[in-house]
Amino acid sequence: MPEPQPQQFQHRQQQPNGHDDAPATSSKHLKADRSLFAESVTIQRSPGDLYAFWRDPLNLLAVMENVQSIVPIDKDRSTWTVKGPGGSHYTWVSRITHDVPGEELTWQSEPGGEVENSGRVQFLDAGRRGCVVRVTTAYDPPGGVVGRTLAKIMQREPRIQTRRDLHRLKQLMETGEIATSARNRREFAEREGDDK
């Protein structure tokens, strides 16, 4: 048996309202009609590198498969167009509401867009494991619960997309390329086509 080492146990403060330490996005008490989710990925790169990558819309387009275009309007605002189920498209203007270089960005869609949404991306230092990129998104699904279910079946649901986007980001940042199992350019183009 290994010799027990002297240890300073750190008392953890209780969460407000007696909650556990799990993220609020994992709560069983979230309302079913509310679309709030968080997705995280750990990437062997520094928070600074990943923040810098994220801040450039052209970079995001490379990993966000369902985003058709991001057109900058000014320093904090850009027009986003994403693909929806069955060849549909949704557009809104996104505004960065809080920007802490190397740490986090929050955004909010401007009124009048086709999908009301807001969210936060955090770049959390994970020491030797690199950086945890954590995206929290709240959105108002077009078509309500039915629309969201349809989007899920068509794999256009924002949570599925976010999870895949984060894994493509990880692949690109860790290996220098985004993995594909296509055998050749024709098959690659076909699969891309399937997806549109």
Binding site: Q155, H167, E177, T180, S181, R183, N184
Partner: protein, 396 residues
């Protein structure tokens, strides 16, 4: 090019398909010189692995010559390489821990959802082994696209070593080796090995090389048991003898110190539990037929170790979790971290310490692949290992 493709249960064909191309900077294209049919390919052949699509190119044991490279490949055109069956990037968290078959970056992002649903986390990429593991085209073909070619393939520097001596570095030799390593064999140990297919036979050799005093090999094919005996193993033919009782007696009422399940989800034998499992699997009430792992758990000595390289894919019924706990057993398993073992095992082959060629019973031209599958499945006693060779002339 010609390639062996999957079309459904017991339906594999040699089709003409589009050639592979370089798509990513770290890719290489390999012209296949030798490729083998693996026991785990039979799980695909028998329709036990979900997420296959008609036309998928099979094969995850292959080697050949580099014919084209991407901008960031470190291979050179003309080099001879053996390619590990799991696809690993070499730079993620798991690769950093040498857990290459858990690589996080090789399975394309849009293919990961299924694995997350089935197993809680996506699997890594594997060549020619369903869309659960990425949907990559396999190497039972004239050419294959190999991602991360700067990391995975082992260059065979010595042209005088024939393909057949090194081909099995792609899967079954490291798999047999890791199976034995997972048993943490101590001097004086008795190790029981269920299944004397290629992985089982390599596990027998590896267990002895790691210091096992006795190895007891279990199967029902006389020829395969004879091959195990060739390496010094004692044998139990489960059609002639009661396995649990024999093991108990042969180990002086202690049980084997370690057990290796080299069978997996499609165990043979008319045991009551296995017959019920077959009915369940064929009616979709269960997926796997875990007779061997059940028996290994019951037979292994208290505080012993069990290694499970045999492939399971879904859910097991009547799993003796009580015996596992009450006897204090350790169970280790997983897809092989092939990249860990290719270099040291290549050295062992080059130095003549490990023989892998004894396994090969049949060599066929690529286009006879479907015949190879059928006979490897139906005549397991004599068809111990099939190697397909693109370009080889058909036998008369």
């Amino acid at each position: 090019m010609k390639a062996i493709t999957w079309h459904g249960k017991h339906d594999v064909r040699c089709d003409t398909v589009d050639d592979p191309e370089i798509l990513n900077p770290r890719d290489a294209i390999i012209r296949i010189t030798s490729t083998a049919i693996c026991g785990s390919d039979l799980h695909l052949y028998d329709g036990y692995i979900p997420a296959m699509k008609p036309g998928d190119v099979l094969g995850h044991e292959f080697m050949g010559e580099v014919v084209e490279i991407g901008g960031r490949s470190t291979l050179k055109v003309g080099q001879r390489v053996v390619v590990p069956f799991p696809i690993a990037c070499g730079s993620c968290f798991h690769c950093g821990k040498h857990q290459y078959s858990a690589c996080e970056n090789a399975n394309p992002a849009d293919k990961q959802d299924m694995g997350r649903e089935a197993y809680g986390e996506p699997m890594s990429g594997i060549f020619g082994y369903s869309h659960l593991t990425g949907g990559y085209s396999g190497g039972q073909a004239e050419y294959v696209r190999v991602p991360f070619s700067d990391f995975g393939p082992l260059v065979i520097p010595d042209d005088s070593i024939p393909d057949e001596k090194v081909l099995f570095l792609s899967d079954i030799l490291p798999t047999g080796w890791m199976a034995a390593e997972n048993c943490e064999i101590e001097p004086g140990d008795t190790v029981a090995v269920w299944g004397c297919g290629p992985v089982g036979l390599f596990a027998v050799q590896s267990a002895f090389l790691m210091g096992a005093e006795r190895v007891i090999a279990i199967d029902h094919y006389p020829h395969r048991l004879e091959l195990a005996r060739g390496f010094g193993a004692e044998t139990i033919n489960f059609e002639e003898s009661k396995v649990y009782e024999a093991l108990w007696d042969m180990t002086g009422g202690i049980g084997p110190d370690a057990s290796i399940d080299c069978v997996g989800m499609e165990s043979h034998g008319a045991f009551a539990d296995n017959v019920i499992d077959q009915i369940k699997a064929s009616t979709f009430l269960g997926t796997d037929r875990p007779h061997v792992i059940r028996q290994a758990i019951m037979a292994t000595r208290k505080g012993g170790r069990i290694s499970m390289p045999g492939v399971y894919g879904g859910f097991a019924d009547k799993f003796p979790i009580g015996a596992l706990m009450e006897k204090g057993l350790t169970l280790r398993t997983g897809q092989t971290h092939v990249h860990r073992y290719t270099r040291p095992l290549y050295t062992a082959i080059a130095e003549g310490k490990i023989d892998s060629t004894f396994l090969i019973s049949h060599r066929l031209p690529l286009h006879q692949g479907p015949v190879g599958y059928k006979n490897f499945k139906e005549q397991q006693d004599s068809w111990t290992k099939v190697v397909l060779k693109p370009g080889m002339a058909a036998a008369a």
